[in-house]
């Protein structure tokens, strides 16, 4: 890597920390390289989740991953939100923080969803400028995640991967490459997912997400409520040789199984990585 992201630590294979597993992590301390939390669940200072977070932080490296930054919104940046986020990021001493390339609020109404953007240079510049402001304010490296999407805008004039690349270059931020999201969008919008992967700027991909989805009659829905499907494992396998060592996090948000099941899935992700790295020299 040649960018500032080269100095970020490689964290290994992590899991999303969810409420049902709080006690498991506190009492049993299972072996996991790192944990990722949904930032918004820990932004109310001294609220109940903090009680658990403080104990878990003593045993694990924990990184914040947001869902409500709404970086692509035409609304002004929410300073009260950013103030809380900054406090959390520094409390965790996180090497980076992340959120999604999307918008979620308009006119003050929060849709609590990861809404896609029109892919134009105007919008890329607007979002890139906002990312730069956020990253400067939080004073930690920011990485932007691609979302799954189910619609495309008439006004879009570029591919999603060109749009994402333009933003991260404008903002000088990193990329959280969600392998499942690339797969889901590739099926919904009929493109080759490897075109997306190959277009990613190699020196900016800091982290992977990997998760399960739900296959509907006419589209694929990103639900995080299944184990990871073979198509996504295959895409992950093909993606590994394109980049340097990239930290991985396995997400499950609904129908969350017992922790040992997730640990097995995480071990499988690691075995794929080890298998690929035996035969590839990066």
């Amino acid at each position: 890597m040649t960018s500032k992201f080269a100095s970020l630590p490689y964290l290994g294979f992590g899991l999303g920390l969810r409420t049902v597993h709080f006690e498991d992590f506190i009492t049993s301390s299972p072996e996991v390289d790192w944990l990722e939390i949904i930032s918004e669940n820990f932004l109310l200072e001294s609220a109940r989740p903090i009680y658990y977070l403080d104990q878990i932080m003593e045993k694990y490296r924990v990184l914040p991953h947001g869902v409500s930054l709404s970086i692509g919104s035409s609304d002004s940046l929410d300073m009260a939100y950013l103030k809380r986020l900054k406090k959390l990021v520094h409390k965790l001493d996180a090497p980076w923080f992340s959120d999604h390339l999307c918008w979620g609020s308009s006119g003050g109404t929060n849709l609590h969803n990861l809404m896609p953007l029109p892919y134009t240079s105007d919008v890329a510049k607007y979002v890139g400028d906002r990312v730069r402001i956020v990253q400067d304010y939080i004073e930690k490296p920011f990485i932007l995640e691609n979302v799954s999407s189910y619609l495309e805008f008439e006004t879009s004039v570029m591919t999603e991967w060109d749009f994402l690349t333009e933003i991260v270059e404008t903002a000088d931020c990193g990329i959280l490459l969600d392998v499942n999201n690339v797969f889901v969008s590739s099926q919904n919008h009929h493109f080759d997912p490897m075109d997306y992967m190959r277009a990613m700027p190699k020196d900016r991909v800091v982290q992977y997400h990997i998760a399960g989805h739900d296959v509907k009659d006419k589209y694929i829905l990103d639900t995080h409520d299944h184990e990871i499907q073979q198509d996504v494992w295959d895409l992950y396998r093909k993606t590994i040789p394109l980049f340097d060592k990239v930290s991985l996090m396995l997400e499950r948000d609904e129908h969350i199984p017992p922790l040992p099941d997730l640990l097995s899935e995480l071990a499988y992700a690691k075995s794929i990585y080890d298998d690929v790295m035996k035969t590839h020299v990066i």
């Binding site: 109404t109 609590h112 809404m115 134009t120 189910y150």
Partner: protein, 239 residues
């Protein structure tokens, strides 16, 4: 920190129209959306509308399980949807989705069972709020002389809620990250509500009637101290 840059005009317009279409369940914003090989613009927009309503209704209903059991799922979902059309979510956290539901019901729900519906909604929101509310530094009485303690402006921790439910006056509070309840004799209601609003003990006790026995008051305050339910009134922004 730099201020937010100005968004492209068309971006603000698209986002406003899509938001309106999702909230009001119409297809006006489909005009901005391309068809895919499998889906029309309207069907693509519908995926987001369905997702929005499922997520936000589930988040709201989750905080009112007793009301759901009492009214039935269909009735509560209908009330919740009407509420969310009026009070859109403005907070980054879904936790706050139900923060005005009790008020909404108080202003709109006029059926015969109004009293029990409002009381249940108040009770369930108090428990939900107790789960997440901030915790301020505990009050350490040993740091105060008795006189200073009586003059210090105190209040309950933010998670302490005082509600009447099933004819019982209750203090809902959090201890060791768990939500608990204590039944309180109704004769203490005025006193506790004064403290909840923030007051010094000498002013609060000014209004105490002789019906309150000193030993009962002492026991109640010992309980509040033991469980860390009292704090000094915090200054500035409450995060």
């Amino acid at each position: 920190m730099s201020s937010s840059p100005t968004p492209p005009t068309f971006l603000a317009q698209i986002q406003a129209e899509i938001t309106a279409s999702i909230i009001h369940k119409n297809l006006d914003a489909a005009v901005h959306i391309k068809p895919s090989k499998m889906l029309t613009p309207a069907e693509r927009l519908d995926i987001y509308a369905d997702d929005y309503w499922a997520r936000i209704l589930d988040a709201l209903i989750e905080d009112f399980p007793i009301l759901q059991a009492y009214l039935g799922e269909d009735v509560l979902y209908e009330l919740a949807e009407q509420y969310l059309q009026t009070y859109r979510s403005k907070h980054f956290s879904l936790f706050y989705v139900g923060d005005r539901f009790s008020d909404y019901l108080r202003n709109t729900y006029q059926k015969k069972n109004r009293k029990i519906v409002l009381e249940t909604a108040d009770y369930e929101w108090a428990r939900a709020w107790c789960f997440f509310a901030p915790q301020f530094p505990l009050l350490d009485p040993s740091l105060f002389s008795e006189d200073d303690l009586m003059k210090t402006v105190l209040q309950f921790q933010h998670h302490v809620q005082l509600v009447t439910y099933k004819k019982q006056f209750r203090m809902i509070y959090r201890h060791d990250a768990k939500v608990n309840e204590k039944m309180i004799p109704r004769v203490f209601k005025d006193l506790l509500e004064k403290i909840q609003n923030g007051t010094s003990l000498d002013i609060a006790f000014d209004h105490v009637t002789t019906a309150l026995h000193t030993k009962e008051i002492e026991a109640l305050f010992a309980f509040c101290i033991q469980y860390g339910l009292l704090c000094q009134k915090p200054e500035g922004e409450i995060l």
